[in-house]
């Protein structure tokens, strides 16, 4: 998604003179076009994530529109208090962009993964997190990010919407990707981010479930389609490359309970590092049951 992101940002920055791009000394091979377009409005802050956030808050206080870029864990966890106090509590219009959400940085190891980013940011006051489903979703996600005037986060990853999966509806907080062809869906599947693509296209071909993608957290208004689906299926299967605590599953379960919908929750989520071993993103997905084969097995088990 970095390529799509940098292309969108370059165009946005050319049009919006108040836009300031700050990077924590990351973006080699990905942001050169942004730097060339923005010139002095592209600022390498050095490996000083705390100061990057505070400076961004100061810029926003004077009416500018700063964006802070780093890889997801460095953008979120290192400067978390600055995000909470300087940005969220003051409701500053600061954009934080983290590349490599989830296990995106694979073999780079646990320090480079972001499995808890949505949890810690979505609890902050006034905060909105935007999570594109796939590469072609990034333009819409960026538009939503900048349409939201306030503290906000964009979680970038990687994923390609398959050509044979039909046309993908434009970016929305909640989208229905697939509708069951049965009178009563076997499950209501709701997922966050590119890991959901491990269901596509096989889950569509089966026609036995409704599938929804959530792309904004905390959850905004629930779609009627989602409520109808869950009332019919009674089984909510949440899939996310994020820890169980504070992720989509807990948020969604709480909201559905508030709506009075009776359901059973099955949650497939990032398990961390259960055996202390490391590998690629797909290796970690497999260890967490988030890969294509594991999801197919889980679906067969749940629907039998």
């Amino acid at each position: 998604m970095r390529k799509e992101f940098s292309s969108w940002i370059e165009n946005f920055g050319r049009k919006e003179s108040r836009f300031i791009f700050l990077t924590g000394d990351l973006g080699f091979g990905a942001l050169e076009n942004v730097q060339a377009a923005l010139q002095e409005r592209f600022v390498n802050m050095g490996v000083c994530e705390q100061n990057m956030i505070s400076v961004a808050a100061g810029l926003a206080q004077r009416g500018l529109i700063p964006l802070c870029y780093s890889i997801a864990p460095f953008a979120v966890f290192r400067p978390y208090e600055q995000i909470r106090v300087d940005v969220a509590l003051h409701r500053m219009n600061v954009k934080i962009v983290g590349n490599g959400g989830g296990y995106g940085y694979g073999i780079m190891g646990a320090t480079h993964h972001a499995l808890e980013d949505i949890a810690v940011l979505s609890v902050l006051q006034h905060f909105a997190c935007f999570i594109p489903l796939c590469n072609s979703d990034v333009d819409g996600a960026c538009e939503a990010l900048f349409r939201y005037v306030g503290p906000s986060y964009l979680r970038l990853g990687f994923g390609i919407w398959p050509d044979d999966a039909g046309e993908l509806e434009g970016f929305k907080p909640i989208r229905k990707l697939a509708a069951s062809r049965m009178p009563r869906p076997k499950a209501t599947i709701v997922g966050l981010g590119p890991v959901l693509l491990n269901l596509i296209p096989w889950i569509l071909e089966g026609g036995e479930t409704d599938v929804f993608a959530v792309s904004q957290m905390p959850l905004v208004d629930l779609s009627d389609d989602l409520l109808v689906s869950l009332r019919a299926s009674g089984l909510l299967w949440v899939i996310e490359e994020h820890t169980a605590r504070g992720g989509l599953g807990e948020h969604l379960a709480a909201r559905m309970a508030q709506e009075g919908v009776p359901f059973r929750l099955y949650h497939t989520h990032a398990l961390g590092y259960p055996d202390g071993l490391y590998g690629s993103q797909s290796y970690h997905q497999t260890r967490s049951g988030l890969d294509r084969v594991s999801l197919q097995q889980t679906f067969r088990r749940l629907s039998s």
Partner: protein, 244 residues
């Protein structure tokens, strides 16, 4: 003081704030109090310099007040651009405000008042590096160096000396107010560096609890609220000094 704590920290920086608000700051200039625990001194100074029309000082520390024990994050007070209270934030925020001039074309000065504890924080030194790299000439830092921290003396916790060398080596124009509770000393220090093209730092050597005999240089007065007898004695001492 309505049972308020941090009185010693407020008294150490009171002259610094009065000097800034009455003698140095113009209408569009900005003040960031990084040592937010000295909010009592900030509110008082802002009020006396007609920068606090939004609220009533008598509500300080009371339920439902805008004037919390540390400056508010609500944006309700125009003269307080950022709420503070967790140390190590103020200089980065001041840097951001000063840096904005480069993109907006506006011209104003930014003052940040820091404490000993602020100088313990790594984020402060990140901001010092940035201010120097970007040559933020609009920025003036005043370090209220009262040499006492939360539960001990600075030299015994994380010794900041030689603090002048530290700030100088980072690229700041540094001047020392040897008596940071004296307006003349503060003024001379500001004058020494006022035309610098680099960011400036005034090291103000102050006294915690300045002006009240039983508070001066006493660690416990970082936190303690005054009881009625303390308050009466403090007023008496101020009266004796002709400051009531």
């Amino acid at each position: 003081m309505a049972g308020a704590g941090h009185i010693g920290s407020s008294l150490s920086c009171l002259e610094i704030l009065v000097d800034l608000c009455f003698d140095r700051m113009e209408k569009d200039d900005v003040l960031v109090l990084s040592k937010g625990h000295a909010a009592a001194a900030l509110y008082t100074t802002l009020s006396l310099s007609d920068r606090l029309p939004e609220t009533d000082l008598s509500t300080f520390y009371k339920d439902g007040t805008v004037l919390s024990a540390h400056p508010p994050c609500s944006g309700a007070i125009r003269a307080i651009p950022f709420g503070t209270g967790s140390l190590g934030h103020g200089l980065g925020l001041a840097c951001g405000i000063a840096f904005s001039c480069r993109f907006t074309g506006k011209s104003f000065k930014v003052f940040a008042v820091l404490s000993d504890g602020d100088c313990n924080e790594g984020s402060t030194w990140e901001a010092v590096l940035f201010a120097s790299q970007q040559k933020l000439s609009a920025l003036t830092v005043v370090v209220d160096l009262n040499s006492v921290q939360g539960i001990g003396y600075t030299k015994n916790i994380l010794n900041l000396e030689p603090i002048v060398d530290k700030w100088t080596s980072f690229g700041f124009a540094v001047a020392v107010a040897e008596d940071g509770n004296d307006f003349g000393s503060l003024s001379r220090a500001h004058e020494t560096v006022k035309n610098s093209a680099t960011p400036r730092c005034i090291i103000a050597r102050t006294v915690k609890g300045h002006g009240i005999s039983f508070m001066e240089n006493r660690v416990e007065w970082h936190y303690l609220p005054m009881q009625d007898e303390h308050y009466a004695q403090a007023l008496s001492e101020l009266a004796d000094a002709g400051l009531d």
